[in-house]
Symmetry: C2
Subunit: 337 residues, 2 copies
DNA sequence: CTGTTAGCGCGTTCAA
DNA sequence: TTGAACGCGCTAACAG
């Protein structure tokens, strides 16, 4: 409510002097600084950031575009991102895209209008390219989180999808499994693609053949998995998998639910592993064998990267950081066959 | 990058006409509207929201101050809030206060500076009053989520803490428990206060006495619960509780962990109930008996309330909505003694 | 060390 | 139906 002029008047100085006090710029006599600071306190003055942005072309706003905060992986990404943003003096705007390019596009327009300084982006697939290009066209720096997009050059924070998958599958194979199904998201999502590749590679490395009937499709969101399980049950005993690899936590949860519905006991009737942990759950009941990723660091590092780009302190070349995954063996994968 | 003037020039009209087209205000000849719209498209023009806010005194920004988005309860609050905000054309800024008034205060200053139109607030306790008064002084509408603060008049979205607690305790009592410990957060948090009151009431209603030694203190955040469990184990068999009521999910998780450490099996050695569900967990392994609250609706309704205040469509009187809790009986409370 | 001028991009007001 | 002038609150650039 109070403006810089109100302060100026009260302190008997010019608006410019007040501005300098606020921004610690230029040099100010100690006595006048005191006067100004008192006036500021008395009038509860708070600088208007719209006016500031208008002049400086900076909003100190960052956007976090993820598919769904309620996915425990992204919940932690969000926390990490917010912590770093807060520490660096930025605010974080939360956006849930639900794996939809259309929702993404809408957000991009809003964010552009809102004048965000940078964007953290988990693209919903290759079709997200146009949205990223739009950001680029408007000169907004962005960092890709968790998933990359072909032909887009930018900073990117990833997990090691190959190694994570390899660990999970090798673990199952070492336990004696030879027929392992994969339930995956659409392959235009880089993590789905990479995990599938690694699935194929790991089977081959172990002299196992890839049975296309065991390559099942789903989405990285909460989607009923009953169909897939019914399909599996329809296979002859000889074809039927003895283990399932779910490529993310949501698929895992829904698949487990469907298995229970069909009275299949994990791991007794079906061994089970997946990507990404469900942490609170892990404490209460250490059940799922997972490839765990440091989600918090994804967000934290991602924000650091964008801010460095925003502030021009980033190196010229784009950075790619790949975090290690950790194999956490728990009950769901079962013991030796 | 392009401004309203660039569009004006390109379309051979005045800036004002462009402004009118953008805002659908005034009346415009169809032909000139066409011209302007084409120019907008060609130049990829996006209105500068800093300039707009400066004039209109509206930012279309809302802030969500919660204690920790990684608390599954607040994760869902955040999702509900974001969905409603998005639907109404607002953006949501995420803030984690970690139950600290100091962090709250910092955020409040930043938010005031950022010019948010309204705030959703889960106060960390009675000391949050000063922060709320500050918001009020600056004319920023806010809605309290999950917790109320004495002497603060505003819209508020709550759960039914009395009834939720009553259900949980009555359930334990019906199973035969007479010595029930409560592990609670500081009492200046309204939910902690109310749950404690309901704990006392329910015991009394059932002719049971309240044993102060079974009233244990903790915090609504992840805090090691080993001390409390060691204390419980130090009690004589006669004094020792047969059941524990944890007043939120974080306390629950940590307490279960501590119990496990001490080789105590739930519910065999200790029955257990708590407030708030851990949903993914509930699917994988339906274990905890809880009083579940519709967290998503807390956020959704909260945003609706603030926006109505922001836009002046809210009724004069402040609203208080109290959502029902649902008792979900699972394994942790055990069977009849 | 401090003040004056001008302008950031837009919308309100008043005229035409 | 359209336009010109002004001001929102602030800071950069230039005096002094």
């Amino acid at each position: 409510m109070a403006t810089i002029y109100d302060i100026a008047k009260k302190a008997n100085v010019s608006a410019m002097t007040v501005s300098r006090v606020i921004n610690n710029s230029g040099s100010i006599k100690e006595s006048t600084r005191k006067k100004v600071e008192e006036a500021i306190k008395e009038l509860n003055y708070i600088p208007n950031s719209a006016a500031r942005s208008l002049v400086s072309k900076k909003s100190n706003l960052l956007a976090l575009l993820i598919t769904d905060v309620t996915n425990p992986f992204f919940t932690k990404v969000a926390r990490g991102a917010e912590d770093k943003a807060q520490q660096m003096g930025y605010q974080l705007m939360l956006c849930n895209t639900d794996e939809s390019v259309e929702k993404e596009s809408k957000y991009i327009d809003v964010l552009l209008a809102a004048g965000v300084d940078g964007v953290l982006f988990t693209p919903s697939g290759e079709k997200s390219k146009k949205n990223l290009r739009k950001l680029a066209k408007h000169g907004i720096p962005f960092t890709l989180i968790d998933r990359k997009v072909q032909g887009i050059n930018c900073d990117v924070v990833l997990g090691d999808n190959h190694e994570g998958t390899r660990q999970l599958l090798q673990h199952l194979i070492d336990l004696g499994h030879e027929k392992i199904a994969i339930i995956n998201a659409p392959l235009d999502i880089s993590t789905a693609h990479d995990r599938y590749q690694a699935y194929v590679n790991t089977l081959k490395m172990n002299g196992l053949s890839v049975d296309e009937r065991l390559v099942l499709k789903s989405h990285y969101k909460k989607e009923n998995a009953t169909n897939n399980i019914e399909y599996i049950l329809s296979l002859s005993k000889k074809e039927r998998p003895t283990a399932i690899f779910a490529t993310n936590n949501f698929i895992a949860v829904e698949t487990i639910r469907a298995l229970r519905e069909k009275k299949l006991e994990v791991p007794h009737d079906m061994a089970f592993v997946c990507f990404d942990d469900l942490d609170h759950h892990a404490t209460i009941d250490p059940f799922l064998t997972v490839a765990s990723q440091p989600a918090y660091d994804f967000g934290f590092t991602g924000v650091q990267f964008v801010i460095e780009r925003v502030e021009g302190t980033a190196p010229q070349e784009f950075r790619k950081i790949q975090f290690q995954t950790e194999l956490v063996v728990r009950k769901s994968s079962g013991g030796q066959l």
